[in-house]
């Protein structure tokens, strides 16, 4: 029975789609697991050498906007007290160094080696106490996904969409999709509140809450789309557009064919 089901499944036109989807999920989660382990090491105390190296990197790469002592200028905020978590999030996702001013800093290829990013984080966190990099135990995604889902829907879903597909804000800003965000970056974003995102400190969402949210976000990515192609999970706008363009368009074409004379 199982063999027959397997045979049928292999022959079905969905087999290729399923194979590609499975490949993507495996590489995606593998990548997430690999990146999640990096900041854990950075979470340990930084050495004086790292702080010095970070200061040099800061002066040559960041000081033109953030000021020589990270005091901030008209173009960029002060970095005193933002902590290592903020540096790791902004630089590891490629948002910093910023490419151009605009409504929102864009994700782009990472500009620094991991060791250099750690050094920058070391120097910035030496300026004043601030949120540190998360320790690995909160990123292990062993939380309660169902509880995390409830917390996510109350605190995050209005901007980031109920399954983390992202959404639009005002004036060209947007809440980015969280579908390919590593556990460490989700944690760092919550604790630091990058750009226009509010801060969700541990007195608001406890460490357990954060772990549950991360677990939910990773769990929801592995959920199969039972209803077929999910059109980016963006909801009624995309689904409505699809229905109007393809369904109504199809009906119009059929009507035209019905009325046309045969040649």
């Amino acid at each position: 029975m199982a063999m027959k089901k397997l045979k049928n499944a292999r022959r079905s036109p969905w087999a290729a789609v399923a194979a590609i989807a499975a490949g993507l999920i495996i590489t995606g989660s593998g990548y997430a697991a690999a990146t999640a382990s990096t900041p854990a090491e950075a979470g340990s105390a930084y050495t004086a050498d790292q702080v010095d190296a970070g200061h040099k990197l800061f002066l040559s790469n960041c000081a033109s906007c953030h000021g020589k002592n990270a005091e901030g200028t008209a173009n960029a905020p002060s970095l005193i007290g933002v902590g290592a978590a903020s540096v790791l999030f902004q630089v590891e996702t490629g948002r910093m160094p910023g490419q151009a001013s605009g409504p929102q800093l864009q994700v782009k290829p990472v500009q620094f080696k991991q060791a250099d990013i750690d050094s920058l984080a070391a120097w910035v966190s030496s300026l004043a106490p601030g949120p540190a990099a998360p320790s690995a135990e909160y990123l292990a995604t062993k939380g309660n996904a169902s509880r995390g889902g409830e917390i996510f829907r109350i605190n995050c879903a209005m901007c980031h969409n109920a399954v983390g597909a992202g959404g639009a804000l005002t004036g060209g800003k947007y809440a980015p999709p969280l579908t390919h965000t590593s556990a460490a970056h989700i944690y760092e974003a919550m604790i630091t509140g990058p750009q226009n995102m509010p801060v969700f400190s541990n007195s608001n969402l406890s460490l357990k809450d954060k772990t549950d949210v991360i677990t939910y976000l990773q769990e929801v990515q592995t959920n199969p789309s039972i209803g077929g192609y999910d059109l980016g999970n963006l909801g009624p706008v995309v689904e409505g557009l699809f229905a109007w363009i393809f369904m109504l368009g199809g009906l119009v074409l059929i009507t035209m064919w019905l009325g046309a004379k045969s040649n």
């Binding site: 605190n155 005002t170 004379k261």
Partner: protein, 355 residues
């Protein structure tokens, strides 16, 4: 008066050709184009084309047969395993595709058959008169008169009048049941669960919030004290939802220097911590998209935007009123508490809401 009359007369005397505009109908504007010249189809001209078309129609019918058989096979072939949604999806998808092919094959085949092989001579059919002939009309009148005579409708006053009475009364029960739309919700729409001294609680855990827990730039989703407990029992769960729909609050801390507060509201905030109703004044969606640096609150439904630092005034979108502010302070232990209920009804406008 007489002057005016003269005036009018003068105008009438002036020969002025008004432009008829759209009211003017050109007699020859829509000349009957007649039937367009008949175009002979390829299937009428060549036997080869005719045979091809016949084969196409037959092929479409065979596709229909194959589709129907596939649908039957798919029903059994794609087994449904309990509530395994994947198996239900596959079963429904392939069963549906088979049925669709079965029906589309017949439909498209029949249309193709009619268009290519059946006679395609153009025929015009004149519409018949809508008015009946004089004889038909006279006969109809005869029937009505006969019915009146035989039933005695005109003669029997008692029956006629009692029937009028019955006809007048039978729709009334339909109107009476509209009473169920009421009664008016009295002042339910004007008050929420908030009261003086009610602690601000985290949603959904229902834990109290200390002022020191709220950093600048952070957002708390807040429910009133006692609401989370309502949700714990099935009996009061509905009540919890009803109250939450009115009482949901967003708590934000901004730099006090950024706040523009009117004198009347100076003591409604606590060291830059402000609490606003989360229910949009447009149609009641939860407004919770807070931008930390612009201090904009955006409603996701219709993009109404509120300026949190300026008493949540509307700066964009269809909402017509600012979000109501919840006056807050701290109690002796440092927990955030409400000073009172909202001083105006929350959410969208309703029939007897002032302003």
């Amino acid at each position: 008066m007489s002057e005016k009359k003269n005036d009018l007369v003068k105008h009438e005397e002036v020969e002025y050709q008004y432009d008829a505009g759209l009211a003017k109908v050109n007699a020859d504007k829509f000349a009957d184009p007649g039937i367009e010249p008949h175009r002979v189809r390829m299937t009428d001209k060549s036997v080869k084309h005719e045979k091809t078309a016949a084969r196409q129609v037959a092929a479409l019918f065979f596709i229909s047969i194959a589709g129907s058989i596939f649908a039957i096979w798919a029903y059994f072939g794609f087994r449904v395993y309990g509530f395994d949604l994947n198996s239900i999806r596959n079963n429904a998808l392939f069963l549906g595709l088979g049925i669709a092919l079965g029906m589309l094959g017949i439909g498209i085949g029949a249309v193709h058959w009619a268009k290519t092989l059946m006679p395609d001579a153009e025929v015009s059919e004149a519409r018949h008169q809508t008015r009946g002939t004089e004889e038909t009309r006279a006969a109809a009148l005869e029937v009505i008169k006969l019915a009146d005579e035989e039933s005695g409708f005109s003669r029997r006053k008692l029956i006629r009048r009692s029937l009028y009475g019955a006809l007048a009364l039978f729709p009334i029960p339909g109107l009476v049941i509209f009473r169920d739309l009421g009664p008016n919700p009295s002042d339910k729409l004007k008050h929420t669960m908030w009261s003086a001294g009610a602690k601000l609680m985290r949603d959904p855990s229902g834990t109290p919030i200390k002022a020191s827990d709220v950093q600048v730039g952070s957002v708390f989703h807040v429910i009133p004290e006692g609401l989370a407990e309502l949700g714990e029992s099935d009996a009061t769960y509905g009540k919890m939802l009803e109250e939450k729909a009115k009482a949901a609050v967003l708590l934000v801390r901004v730099d006090p220097a950024d706040l523009k507060e009117s004198d009347a509201r100076k003591d409604w905030s606590y060291q830059g911590i402000v609490a606003y109703s989360k229910i949009c004044t447009h149609v009641g969606c939860p407004v919770a998209l807070y931008e930390q640096h612009t201090h904009h609150l955006l409603c996701p439904c219709h993009q109404s935007t509120f300026d949190l630092t300026d008493e949540c005034k509307v700066i964009f979108g269809p909402a017509s009123r600012p979000l109501p502010q919840l006056p807050i302070t701290v109690d002796a232990e440092g927990y955030l508490v409400a000073r009172s209920d909202f001083n105006e009804p929350v959410g969208p406008s309703f029939w007897d809401r002032k302003a």
